[in-house]
């Protein structure tokens, strides 16, 4: 009786597997196992009659064929890869040997050649090739000679002294320049801070010291370089001096371009209008009191030919100080914005931007102070008038107590004014006060120190010309 189809398949499959595995007895003289072909034939004969297993048999045989083909292909590929690797290795070894031998021959060495060597290089060392190789060696030597000559020429008047020192100087000068640019940009960042306080300005001025030190180092190193190059290339001294001059004058032009914008001149009509506003805003009502306030603020009345009077703001007065400071701050704001922009492009201009920022700070404080003092003058004028009115009213009413209260008010006002005078006196002892009439901030500065290098360089240039 036939087993089930799955049992039949399992049996056939096991049989096929054992057929593909090598026998453990193989090579030891044992009976050779049945070959794959005979096993397939046996399986075929066994299952051919079984119709039900026909399909399974086809599948089994198909798998077996596929495995067989894959194993055969892998073997072939392995052999092929090994063979190729051996070929490549042999080829490289041969090339190395040929290179070594031909180079030795071209250099005129006598190299004992084996028969194998001869086989390898025989075709290379033809007379023409020997000549070509020898020519190659000669060309190389000539090129080396040419390079040496170029190096010697580059060394100018000191052919035996290398350019290493100059290269070192250039590197250090470049580093100093980089440092200066970094510090300069740091200063610009400080100046861009809003609001820019006196503390910010201290930081910027402190950074400027580092900036100047880096500038000094850079300039000193470039001086040394210029002198060294001048000694090396005496016939190009003028050219070097001209280059240094050009660089210096370019920077100077940029610095000169950063002038403080001129404060706008406020027309007399506008100044008179400001005077009018200041008096009206004070709230003083009586004409005589208005005149007192006008005099305090620095407003003068100039009689005109037609009998009328024209108000003008006196030079050096409180109002003049305020108007002038406002115009200065506006101009310095513009200048500072331009200086910051210029220093961002060329950080060597950072110190100029610091200078403008400092001057702007002074102008801002001056404006602030003038505004406060004008407000105080207006308040005083108003209170004087109030006391005057209070006393008059009390006198008219004939009320003794009211008169006493008005007198107390008057005394109180005098006491406050006296205190103010003492307080300003104390400030004046320290700094001289700023904005009392005819007392203006006067900024007197020493001459800006120019770096010594200019002198050194001009001296050197004199030597050149002599």
């Amino acid at each position: 009786m036939q087993g089930s189809s799955s049992e039949v398949f399992r049996e056939a499959s096991n049989e096929v597997k054992s057929a593909t595995r090598p026998s453990p007895l193989e090579g030891f003289g044992a009976e050779a196992p049945a070959t794959l072909e005979t096993r397939i034939a046996a399986a075929e004969s066994r299952f051919k009659k079984d119709r039900e297993s026909k399909a399974l048999w086809d599948i089994t045989i198909g798998q077996l064929d596929a495995e067989h083909s894959a194993a055969a292909s892998a073997d072939v590929a392995k052999v092929s890869a090994e063979s190729k690797a051996r070929q490549i290795l042999a080829g490289r070894q041969a090339e190395q040997k040929i290179d070594k031998l031909t180079t030795a021959i071209a250099r005129g060495k006598r190299v004992p050649l084996t028969a194998e060597d001869r086989a390898l290089v025989g075709s290379v060392v033809s007379p023409e090739q020997k000549m070509a190789l020898a020519q190659g060696v000669l060309d190389q030597a000539a090129e080396e000679q040419r390079q040496m000559q170029l190096r010697a020429e580059a060394r100018g008047a000191k052919p035996n002294e290398s350019l290493v020192k100059e290269a070192g100087l250039m590197k250090r000068a470049s580093e100093a320049q980089q440092r200066q640019a970094e510090v300069g940009l740091g200063i610009v960042q400080i100046l861009k801070t809003e609001p820019l306080t006196i503390e910010g300005l201290r930081q910027a001025t402190g950074a400027e010291k580092r900036f100047r030190r880096a500038e000094g180092r850079r300039a000193g190193l470039f001086d040394q370089l210029t002198v060294r190059f001048g000694e090396r290339y005496p016939n190009r001294k003028d050219e070097l001096a001209a280059a240094r001059d050009r660089i210096d004058s370019e920077l100077q032009s940029k610095r000169d371009a950063l002038v403080i914008a001129t404060a706008e001149v406020i027309p007399q009509e506008q100044r008179a209008q400001r005077a009018e506003t200041a008096i009206t805003m004070s709230g003083v009502g009586r004409e005589e009191n208005k005149k007192v306030l006008a005099a305090e603020l620095g407003v003068v009345e100039i009689p005109q030919s037609d009998g009328s009077t024209k108000r003008e703001v006196e030079q050096g007065s409180l109002l003049d100080a305020q108007i002038t400071a406002e115009a200065s701050v506006a101009a310095l704001n513009t200048s500072l914005a331009e200086a910051i922009r210029a220093a961002e492009e060329d950080p060597r201009l950072a110190d100029k931007a610091v200078q403008i920022a400092l001057e702007r700070h002074i102008a801002i404080r001056a404006r602030e102070l003038a505004t406060e003092e004008i407000a105080a003058a207006q308040a005083l004028a108003k209170e004087n008038e109030a006391v005057q009115v209070a006393k008059e009213k009390a006198q008219v009413e004939g009320d003794a107590k009211k008169i006493a209260r008005a007198d107390a008010y008057d005394k109180g006002l005098k006491a406050v004014n006296s205190f103010l005078g003492k307080a300003f006196g104390m400030v004046s002892k320290v700094g001289g006060g700023l904005f009392k009439k005819d007392r203006r901030v006067e900024v007197k500065l020493g001459e800006e120190r120019r770096p010594k290098r200019r002198l050194r360089l001009s001296g050197w240039r004199l030597n050149l010309q002599s």
Binding site: L358, I362, L380, A390, A408, Y409, G433, G446
Partner: protein, 66 residues
């Protein structure tokens, strides 16, 4: 004062010294001025209060500020 020391300062260092002085002076003067205006206001208030208590009327508006 050591004049030689000033000579060694850069232009901006000199300007900073001036800016610092101006700053300190401006702070002091502005503080005094503000205190002065406040004193005037207090003085006016005291007078007005006294007048009101006595049944009178204040003589003028308070000190304006700009």
């Amino acid at each position: 004062m050591d004049d030689n020391k000033i000579q060694t300062k850069s232009l901006n260092e000199q300007l900073l010294a001036i800016a610092e002085t101006v700053d300190a002076m401006a702070d002091s003067e502005i503080a005094i001025t503000k205190a002065y205006v406040e004193s005037l206001k207090d003085l006016r208030k005291d007078y007005d209060d006294e007048e009101t208590k006595a049944g009178g009327v204040s003589v003028a508006p308070v000190v304006p500020t700009l």
